[in-house]
């Protein structure tokens, strides 16, 4: 109940923001009868109706995970974002090993097992992608590779 009320409210606010965004789209003189604003405005109106319906008739409360699971998922999210930022400057092998090990550990918390898996997976995937598929990956930071 509560979740859907919040969700419906978010949808309504989002739809209004989208509506405002649609109104601020530049139009040119050489436009077709409909122009670039009409379709986004239609989407905003439809979303608004959906949001109001969700608010008015919420479903049963979903089965949210407990605090530890949220924490794990937050860590996973941070790991993934860090991976996206680090894979180019630090090369493929090290960030991939760390990120794989972290995800593995979050699914089954056994440190040694995850570490071994992370390193193995990283090497196997590197060989597969680099030599099997011919992707232009760098194993280590480019500055170290010369």
């Amino acid at each position: 109940m509560a979740s859907d009320r919040i969700f419906g409210l978010v949808v309504v606010i989002g739809a209004l923001a989208y509506f405002a965004g649609a109104l601020s789209i530049q139009t040119s003189f050489l436009s077709d009868p409909l122009g670039p604003r009409a379709f986004p405005i239609g989407i905003a109106v439809a979303s608004l109706l959906c949001g109001l319906t969700i608010l008015a008739r919420p479903d049963a409360e979903p089965d949210w995970p407990g605090r530890p699971a949220w924490l794990s998922m937050g860590v996973a999210l941070a790991v993934l974002v860090a991976y996206a930022y680090s894979v180019v400057p630090f090369g493929f092998l090290v960030p991939t090993a760390i990120a794989s090990a972290a995800i593995g550990y979050l699914i089954e918390p056994k440190a040694a097992q995850s570490a071994v898996m992370g390193v193995t997976l990283s090497v196997i995937l590197f060989v597969l992608f680099k030599y099997g598929l011919g992707l232009g990956l760098f194993a280590f930071p480019r500055s170290l590779m010369g």
Binding site: V11, Y18, G21, A22, I25, Q26, T27, S28, L30, D32, P33, L34, P36, F39, P40, I43, A44, A46, S47, L49, C50, G51, T53, I54, R57, D59, P62, D63, A69, S72, M73, A76, L77, L80, V81, Y83, A84, Y85, V87, V88, T96, A99, S100, A101, I103, G104, L106, I107, E108, Q113, S114, M117, G118, L121, S122, L125, F129, L133, G134, L135
Partner: protein, 507 residues
């Protein structure tokens, strides 16, 4: 006759040693992907699309590879349904009802063989159906102008939402979300919209990024939440024999399941899950109290497998002829075609017949390969099920990242993919279907374009949208498809499905 000569041409395109090799690899990978709980047709095909480009395949080869994967996942889904009582993907859900009881009675091998043969019958006959129906539908689709296409897109959203969710407002919102995201970027007149001045967004949001995020990355969060409890350890099957008596007894079942599944697949928005559901329920009521459905009746394995594989073939019909996918996986296939610069629709049949017929021929080839792989060699795939989730999910993550990175080489797309992953998790928890989001991102620009062209033709007269009988018919079907489930849901109750962590993949 023309059809046969076209088909012969298709086989000419598809029967080179290299494409056969690709079909073989695709079928193998596909069966594995389908069998692994957590990876299904949509996310399996999605994470492989960027890699298919990295391989430098041409259009036909990429299509052969990925359609083989698609068909392979449909075969593979049953393996974990039968052995573990966990559907490998959503369409295989109904197979658990009788497949797992059979496995408990020590007949796992029989169940695998029967379902393998049923899968073959379903998908082979539905590919024949595709050959017959697609050119007819393509010739009707010639009559479609912008007004009809606009109504058709609306129909796709209305029915897809109606079938996949239990809350119409939420599925309609999902479609709006996708459409809204499709608007980001330059419009067809070259004006930027919703980019916030961010240069990365000028080209719009790449639908592959959204697909991989919503399907694959979101699954990682689901696995972390559940700690991968549903893993497969210690599954064994004995010597495989072919249960001729059961196969003979269920031959009628397979044919009926195929027919129903094919129809479910052709209908926009219904897809393979509905195909297997309808086939199972129809068979159950056809056989009546004589059957032992739910307690390990071989027909209860044959019907849903014939149904979901037939639906997989049927779903290709609207995707190829109209450019409107009938299910989540065909939406992903549409994404593939669009990335290859192939626009599905009636013109495709006329202008690039070698692609259409090559694709159809490769579907036939994939089926034969899959039958060989899935009946005598099924034990190999059973071994694959032992891959624990703490290895599988990091692998999925890294393949997704590398695939998306290889598309554009920018960290921005990877961040966007992670954002879609988090969004996908939240949406799934709130029971908002993700397939309409994908469909919206895929079709948003085409839908707006058809509306704008319709308004140009009629000089802004809205009644033009309802000016032809075909358009009016499509509008009526759209309204019916959206409203009907609200009433039907009260009458038709889904049978109890095994609780547990179902894969994200809405077929």
């Amino acid at each position: 006759m023309e059809t046969l000569s076209n088909l012969a041409m298709g086989f000419g395109v598809a029967l080179t040693p290299f494409t056969l090799f690709l079909a073989f690899c695709g079928c193998f990978l596909g069966t594995i992907i389908g069998a692994l709980p957590g990876l299904g047709p949509s996310n399996g095909v999605a994470i492989l699309i960027p890699l298919a480009f990295a391989l430098g395949l041409d259009a036909t080869q990429a299509l052969v590879l990925l359609t083989s994967v698609y068909y392979g996942t449909m075969y593979g889904g049953r393996i974990s349904s039968i052995l573990l009582n966990i559907p490998g993907d959503e369409p295989a859900m109904m197979t658990t009802l009788d497949g797992f009881p059979m496995a408990k009675q020590g007949r796992a091998g029989d169940a695998l063989v029967i379902s393998g043969v049923a899968s073959f019958v379903g998908s082979f006959l539905s590919t024949v159906g595709l050959v017959v129906v697609a050119p007819i539908l393509a010739s009707i689709a010639y009559l479609f102008g912008p007004a009809e296409y606009f109504a058709l897109y609306l129909l796709a959203f209305a029915t897809l939402g109606g079938m996949t969710s239990s809350n119409q407002a939420k599925s309609a919102f999902a479609a709006c979300l996708g459409l809204g995201l499709a608007m980001v970027g330059l419009d067809n007149a070259g004006l930027p919209r919703f980019t916030g001045g961010n240069l990365h967004l000028m080209d719009g949001i790449d639908f592959l990024v959204a697909i991989v995020g919503l399907f694959a990355i979101a699954e990682i969060f689901i696995f972390i939440e559940s700690h991968g409890k549903n893993s497969a350890i210690g599954v064994t099957i004995g010597k495989l024999t072919i249960p001729w008596a059961d196969l003979k007894a269920s031959s009628g079942t397979m044919l009926r399941g195929t027919g129903l599944g094919f129809i479910a697949g052709v209908l926009p928005g219904a897809g393979a899950s509905l195909g297997s559901f309808m086939a199972y329920m129809a068979e159950k009521s056809w056989v009546g109290s004589k059957g032992r459905f739910g307690k390990g009746d071989p027909r209860g394995v044959a019907a849903p497998e014939a149904g979901n594989n037939a639906a997989a073939g049927g779903a290709m019909v609207p995707m190829l002829t109209l450019g409107v996918p009938g299910s989540g996986t065909t939406a992903v296939m549409l994404a593939l075609l669009m990335t290859l610069n192939i626009t599905p629709g009636p013109l495709l049949f006329k202008e690039q017949p070698e692609i259409v017929w090559g694709l159809i021929a490769s579907l036939f080839i994939a089926n034969i390969v899959l039958l060989i792989m899935n009946v005598p060699l099924v034990k190999i795939f059973v071994k694959v099920l032992m891959v624990p989730p703490w290895v599988l999910m990091p692998m999925v993550t890294m393949v997704s990242f590398v695939g998306i990175f290889s598309l554009s080489g920018s960290y921005f797309d990877m961040l966007l993919m992670i954002a879609f992953g988090a969004l996908g998790y939240i949406l799934r928890k709130l029971d908002v279907p993700t397939v309409p989001v994908i469909l919206g991102i895929l079709l948003g620009n085409a839908m707006e374009d058809s509306l704008r062209r319709a308004m140009v033709i009629s000089d802004g007269d809205w009644t033009y949208l309802f000016s032809t009988p075909i358009a009016v018919g499509l509008w009526l079907f759209a309204a019916g498809g959206f409203l009907a489930p609200m009433f039907l849901r009260k009458i038709v109750k889904r049978p109890p499905i095994p609780s547990g962590d179902l894969p994200l993949d809405a077929d």
